[in-house]
């Protein structure tokens, strides 16, 4: 195996004064107090690190703006560790405010998890905190601040843990591709602006001329009917992202589209790209026109390889793919935002002088019945006998379950495309769709009920709305939320190429853990867009009680998205094993839940302590879409149910 690690080309903005500084463990005083940050992440290897968090200016848009950086770089250095080792990180805070680093997706003692208020008190100004923990996993992860809005201003970086055993997927080159969003605006200002005028950043609202066009194309009656629901509900059809390209620049490894981050390859090589969505708020649709990608891991965990062309990557998710470009040409890494207000872009090229075309942004997709949680009502052929809707196999009707091998794949480069994989996918998409507790494929277990916790009222079904969902903080509740694991999602449904979905994926080595939970906790994702309030079950974090899990219990978490937005939901410290149906699981740390979707996953509560559980959209988390999960010793009376678990 030849593995070369070419560092991303670092682009010093005005940082020549820094000269040949050591970017490793030691830092020169000049760098420690550098006012000017650099863009591009250096890679640091080993098991002992000194990380310095400080304020510096970066210039991404033509203006120097304040950023929060680790060792003076944006993104923070990519840390490269080895499974089985114990890492020690001394983190010194040079900011005038408290800071923290959370190791996203890592299994570790909760005191090392880096969430102020839960794991520890945070790292005060001038203080040094020493993180130390053994590495019990391998794969692609990331790290970021869990204090205030520091993550938005640059405190994020890639984390790669090489496996103790040889990697089954040998590659010639290996690149971390950190995607992020940058604003020249102070994030506090962004948040305050959203509270004042939540659609401030949406410049794709429907206009009078759109209505006139619809009159012409769809007829007046149909148009008015379509609009009636939106107008009645006071919702926007184009509300796909709260913060958009109006203020954001979208970055690949700290490079704007104009700066064009480049990665080298030689034709015929196998290249691993480790995509990390380190954005504060941006969901990306990723593709490399002309190249097929083969996914080998998601959220750091190995999956059975699947060949695909495009993938929606939620905030905080990571995706490892292998590409094998055969031709002597440049390829564009294209990551357009879900609301099509901008894109991040880089180039894979054998020669820096070669250029690759950058695709046009797609038109802004419009939210529909599905996103409204009205099930598959836009699938005209379906029966609608009331309650049967939630239990029906909608996936069988959805476009993504069509036989891709018979589709027109347009002018994409399909050399060597494995159509059988497409066939597997069909099977995968039809059979189940992750029905959670409502079908035979996964057993029904009792709902967790607690008189002391308003999140756990008695309930008949997962889709039932709790009383707490009726109040000023909740502007809608999904009528018929449905499984959508095999749905490529809004804006990607009509692609004539393969869009990767969760339903296509499966943990590489069979079942990572038991598929049989003991009880089920239901949480509805809720919010009020107009007031910019976000919560679980209509209860913001400030008014919520911790969710208690018993040590080593296997519990099912079911999420019902009652909002019109996507929410990447992240549970710290414990794996989230997504239920794909048929007893199959996909091991993840962050799950992107679509509007109107119902999904469930299994959690082994094998780490005692206090863990954060939240939407990874930074401003949603801040607004209250957050819970503390407490793993506590199991009460004595239930002791006999305890299972041994590694």
């Amino acid at each position: 195996m030849t593995t070369s690690f070419s560092l991303p080309r670092r682009r010093f903005v005005q940082g020549l004064a820094l000269g040949g500084t050591a970017l490793g463990l030691g830092l020169t005083p000049a760098q420690l107090f550098a006012r000017q940050g650099q863009t591009g992440a250096p890679e640091l290897r080993g098991n002992q690190f000194q990380l310095n968090i400080g304020a510096a200016d970066v210039n991404l848009t033509g203006r120097n703006r304040p950023a929060t950086l680790v060792n003076g770089s944006l993104p923070a250095p990519t840390l490269r560790w080895r499974e089985g080792e114990t890492v020690t990180l001394r983190v010194t805070n040079h900011l005038p405010e408290t800071t923290s680093i959370h190791w996203h997706g890592l299994l570790l003692p909760f005191q090392m998890d880096g969430v102020p208020g839960l794991s520890f008190d945070g790292i005060g100004p001038g203080e040094t905190f020493t993180y130390q923990f053994p590495l019990r996993q391998s794969g692609t992860y990331w790290y970021h601040s869990h204090s205030g809005f520091q993550e938005q201003t640059g405190l994020y970086g890639g984390l790669i843990i090489d496996p103790a055993e040889p990697d089954p997927h040998t590659v010639d080159r290996d690149y971390a591709v950190v995607l992020s969003d940058w604003s020249d605006q102070d994030p506090k200002r962004i948040y305050a602006t959203l509270k004042k005028l939540s659609h401030y950043y949406n410049f794709s609202e429907r206009t009078l001329f759109d209505t006139l066009t619809d009159f012409r194309e769809k007829g007046v009656v149909r148009t008015l009917k379509d609009r009636h629901m939106w107008n009645r509900m006071r919702m926007s059809e184009t509300d796909l992202a709260d913060v958009t390209g109006y203020t954001y620049s979208f970055l690949v490894n700290g490079h704007t589209p104009a700066a064009n981050w480049q990665a080298r390859f030689e034709p015929g090589e196998r290249i691993k790209l480790r995509f990390i969505n380190a954005s504060a708020m941006t969901i990306f649709d990723l593709r490399i026109p002309g190249l097929d990608m083969t996914v080998v891991a998601m959220d750091g965990q190995p999956v059975k390889p699947v060949r695909f062309h495009e993938c929606r990557l939620g905030v905080a998710e990571t995706l490892d793919v292998i590409v094998e470009p055969k031709d002597h040409r440049a390829y564009t890494l294209f990551a357009q935002t879900i609301d099509r207000s901008g894109y991040a872009r880089g180039t894979l090229t054998p020669d820096p002088s070669l250029h690759a075309e950058v695709p046009e942004l797609d038109p802004v997709p419009l939210l529909g019945h599905r996103e409204m949680g009205m099930g598959a009502m836009d699938h005209g052929a379906m029966g609608h006998d009331g309650g049967s809707m939630t239990g029906m196999d909608h996936s069988a009707m959805s476009p993504s379950s069509m036989d891709h091998s018979s589709m027109n794949h347009g002018n994409m480069n399909h050399e060597g495309m494995n159509h059988d994989a497409g066939g597997d996918m069909d099977h995968a998409a039809m059979g189940h769709g992750g029905h959670g507790s409502s079908t035979d494929s996964t057993a029904t277990v009792p709902f967790a009920v607690s008189a002391n916790n308003p999140d756990l009222p008695p309930r008949q079904s997962a889709t039932e709305h709790a009383d707490s969902e009726y109040g000023p903080g909740v502007d809608m509740r999904a009528m018929s939320p449905v499984p959508m694991l095999d749905d490529p999602g809004i804006g990607l449904r009509d692609r004539d190429w393969k869009v990767l979905t969760y339903a296509d994926l499966e943990y590489a080595h069979g079942l990572p853990d038991s598929a049989q939970p003991e009880r089920e906790i239901v949480l509805h994702l809720t919010g009020n867009m107009e007031r910019y309030m976000w919560s679980f079950n209509g209860i913001p974090f400030a008014d919520a009680k911790p969710l208690e899990l018993y040590h080593n219990e296997r519990v099912r978490l079911t999420l019902v998205n009652d909002t019109m937005m996507h929410h990447p939901i992240h549970l710290h410290g414990l794996w989230s094993d997504l239920e794909l149906g048929d007893g199959r699981l996909l091991r993840k740390h962050t799950l992107l839940v679509k509007p109107g979707e119902k999904l469930s996953y299994l959690v082994r509560a094998d780490a005692l302590g206090r863990w954060a559980y939240h939407c990874h959209l930074l401003y949603h988390m801040e607004a209250g879409m957050f819970r503390e999960v407490r793993v506590i010793p199991r009460p004595q009376s239930h002791h006999q149910h305890q299972e041994g678990h590694s």
């Binding site: 208020g117 206009t207 006071r234 000023p472």
Partner: protein, 242 residues
């Protein structure tokens, strides 16, 4: 004096209610925000000369409870300038439904020549289906005076930045107030049509038409003073917020 007492008492109660605003944010610090919106600051080409008119509001608070302030007024710009009307209102605003707040407050009308008028106000404000910004307030004043005021506004997007705003406002009174030339029943209806261009979301110049009509006894009182019962004016102004 009596009016002062009412106002002071109501203010104290209002501030006491406001400090109970619920806490927010992970750090346990209550997250509070504020906005100042000058919705209309305009020159009107009226019958008796150029009139400066404004309508502005501000709020401060959390998601559920807010302290709300509103002011509107008109000032004659010709002949040395004279404030024709000035109204201020301070209220506790509380969200009770996804799109609706109720408001409890006090209002003072500052009269240049006559005694000030004080009112206690109770109302609802919010977004009705079809995105109509709606406000309804009942004002209860001294000596049994009362006013019901209904307002609605709509935003029609020509483009993302060019926005037409039709609005309408009606005032009904429970009792005649001769000093102010107001009769019982429907007294005034105002309607406006303003076209603004948002250079930024926060800053938009506009032009438009403003129409006012007095009804019933109120119209008669106006005619007795040699004024017209209705007036249509061209307006130009700016809308700004922070």
């Amino acid at each position: 004096m009596k009016s002062l007492t009412i106002t002071r008492g109501a203010l104290t109660a209002l501030l006491a209610l406001f400090v109970t605003t619920s806490a927010q944010a992970m750090e346990g610090v209550p997250a509070r925000f504020g906005q100042i919106l000058v919705d209309q600051l305009e020159a009107r080409d009226a019958d008796d000369g150029t009139v400066a008119a404004w309508s502005a509001n501000a709020w401060y608070g959390g998601d559920i409870n807010k302290l709300y302030f509103a002011t509107e007024g008109e000032r004659l710009m010709d002949r040395g300038g004279e404030t024709e009307s000035l109204e201020t209102r301070l209220a506790w605003s509380r969200a009770f439904a996804p799109y609706w707040d109720w408001q409890l407050g006090v209002r003072r009308d500052w009269q240049p020549d006559d005694p000030n008028r004080d009112w206690v106000s109770v109302g609802v404000m919010g977004v009705a289906p079809y995105f109509f910004e709606t406000e309804a307030n009942l004002f209860l004043g001294e000596s049994g005076h009362s006013e019901l005021r209904l307002e609605a506004e709509y935003e029609l997007l020509f483009t993302q930045q060019l926005i037409l705003t039709p609005e309408v406002e009606a005032s009904l009174y429970g009792k005649e107030d001769r000093d102010l030339g107001i009769g019982k029943g429907l007294a005034t209806v105002e309607a406006g049509l303003r076209l603004r261009y948002e250079i930024r979301r926060e800053f938009a110049p506009y032009i438009g038409v403003h129409w006012e009509k007095k009804f019933g006894d109120t119209a008669d009182f106006a005619r007795d003073h040699g004024e017209d019962a209705s007036d249509t004016m061209l307006v130009a102004g700016i809308r700004v917020w922070y």
